[in-house]
Symmetry: C2
Subunit: 338 residues, 2 copies
């Protein structure tokens, strides 16, 4: 108690935990736009089981369908050695942890998918023939462009979100991978509707107030490049730029913890085919996946809607961060690190 009187962030996290549910709300039919807006106002996630079951994508897509639809297409594939695209990663032969961006290359879609399928049943250590982790994860509104031939299988927007937020999605993204890829804990300034099509996605969710517990550090950027021998090498970006990134992994909570990590309550939810997840703006999420039983691939679609920057949410995040920054600066000063 004494601790919290003197510690605004501990008080905040305790208050948040008292007033907000520790588990996700489950719906069995889509909310109305008004019901959705209540969740947006509360910045509270929910899952809708089976909401997309009737979509053509959920009814008809499988590996054979996708290969046929995109038989002549080349697609952008993110390639990494460990499924660690956009994740904190040790830079070999240094003490640095860097933000590792994937090697990106165009691959014929059918052979990309066959590779995912063949690899999906393999376990680590992977054989040399399938040692690369590949993931179609361009988050640039790829569905109506790169994957335009598939776009008619899903609605162009989610009606309850489009009506509630009074806007079209800023991006609609298709994700195709297998269980070897994990998306590291991060957050986006978007309201996000995530729709599972094949396989499962396993989300770990943390609210925006968790920022002092996720141990964000400024990481130098690096990108995997394919060497002349075809091997992946992680190369530091030349621009020297740094990105803030969460070092804490809620699945390994002892490592990289801050004094506040123990006050953060992760919410876990698994999406099955046809499920929707409302992932509210600025929520941290770590995402792992399981390929569907028959074919080993995991396919999902998400709709990003611009978030509202007026009102309490963004200001809360701003204040949490500046309070935590000030606290860290003072602790460093007291430690003589200045």
């Amino acid at each position: 108690m004494e601790d919290q009187v003197n510690d605004p962030i501990a008080t905040l996290l305790t208050t948040y935990n008292e007033l907000n549910s520790a588990s996700i709300e489950t719906l069995y039919e889509e909310p109305s736009p008004l019901e959705f807006m209540r969740y947006v106002a509360r910045n509270t996630p929910f899952v809708v089981r089976g909401a997309a079951s009737g979509w053509k994508a959920c009814q008809e897509w499988n590996a054979e369908y996708l290969k046929a639809a995109l038989k002549d297409s080349e697609v952008n594939v993110a390639v990494t050695p460990y499924g660690n695209a956009d994740a904190p990663t040790p830079l070999p032969d240094t003490d640095l942890t860097v933000f590792a961006k994937p090697h990106e290359e165009l691959q014929p879609f059918p052979s990309f998918l066959t590779y995912l399928q063949q690899q999906s049943s393999l376990t680590v250590p992977l054989p040399p023939s399938h040692s690369e982790i590949r993931y179609a994860q361009t988050q640039d509104n790829n569905l109506p462009h790169e994957y335009a031939l598939l776009a008619s299988s899903v609605p162009p927007s989610i009606p309850f979100a489009r009506i509630a937020l009074s806007r079209l999605p800023d991006a609609t993204n298709l994700w195709i991978g297998n269980s070897h890829s994990v998306t590291a804990l991060h957050k986006d300034n978007y309201e996000n509707i995530y729709v599972q099509v094949l396989g499962q996605k396993h989300f770990v969710l943390l609210p925006p107030v968790a920022s002092p517990g996720v141990n964000e550090r400024l990481l130098k950027g690096a990108r995997y490049k394919r060497s002349d021998k075809g091997e992946l090498e992680l190369v530091l970006d030349e621009d020297g730029g740094e990105v803030p990134f969460a070092m804490w992994d809620p699945d390994v909570p002892e490592k990289h913890a801050t004094k506040y990590s123990r006050l953060v309550r992760p919410i876990r939810v698994t999406l099955d085919p046809g499920d929707f997840l409302y992932l509210p703006a600025m929520w941290y999420h770590k995402v792992s996946q399981t390929g569907c039983a028959d074919e080993g691939i995991c396919v999902a679609i998400n709709y990003w809607y611009d978030m509202e920057f007026s009102g309490p949410l963004y200001c809360l995040d701003t204040l949490v961060r500046s309070v935590d920054e000030k606290r860290k600066a003072e602790e460093n000063k007291n430690d003589g690190v200045e």
Copy 2:
């Protein structure tokens, strides 16, 4: 800039000002429940001009109508010497500023109203016959109870708010006074729809993040009591309890200012008969009033709906307060005041 890097509250207020409008949004017809919910989500006030013009209360109420309807009623009247019910007030013969509660007494409604009317055109100093300020302002769901005979003149709830918030009002309150009463700056944990019926109300509004600028102090409670001679005397409460109350008055901004008051941007709006004001939860408001031209009385109704405590708003307020408390404690310590 340097100032703000080290000052999370200054950063917060600057960010808030950059992202939120400095003036109130004006609508000319009622919002839909969904449109209203977008304002609730943004915790942003608006006014709807003329929305209640068709109400029976706005069409038919005047002094004569009210006196006839309540000709046999006694009503609870708040009585003070300066129109300072529930306001910070110097306690005579001491150095104390106290939270002054009004003397409350039952008065026959017609004579209460006649007193308001006769007094309305008088200026300070008031003559002995009209030196008391009287205000019918019981905020205890008085319309369906104390004023049940008037309740059918207004709807039992505001449809867009009832539907959006999925609840009935927690209280519906009638306010009858004249220009000599002012409600001091304060806030309520309610979503509030305020409806003007006769005369004008003049609101000064500050968002919840303004709390470090309003200079809240713990004030001992006191209440006006009518002496044997009929005079009003302010008597300290015996229980010794204290209430936190804003000392800063946005209309006298130099006095009682904190280092953050200058970063607070008050929003001013005047309600005319038939206007709605959405006063979002936790917004500070100071309210003064002008009697209607013919009859000198000011009549309004407000609907209080329970606010949502989950989500970002309440947590933002909690954090702002605890950061400001900690800062003040540290400043006192540095000043050797400890």
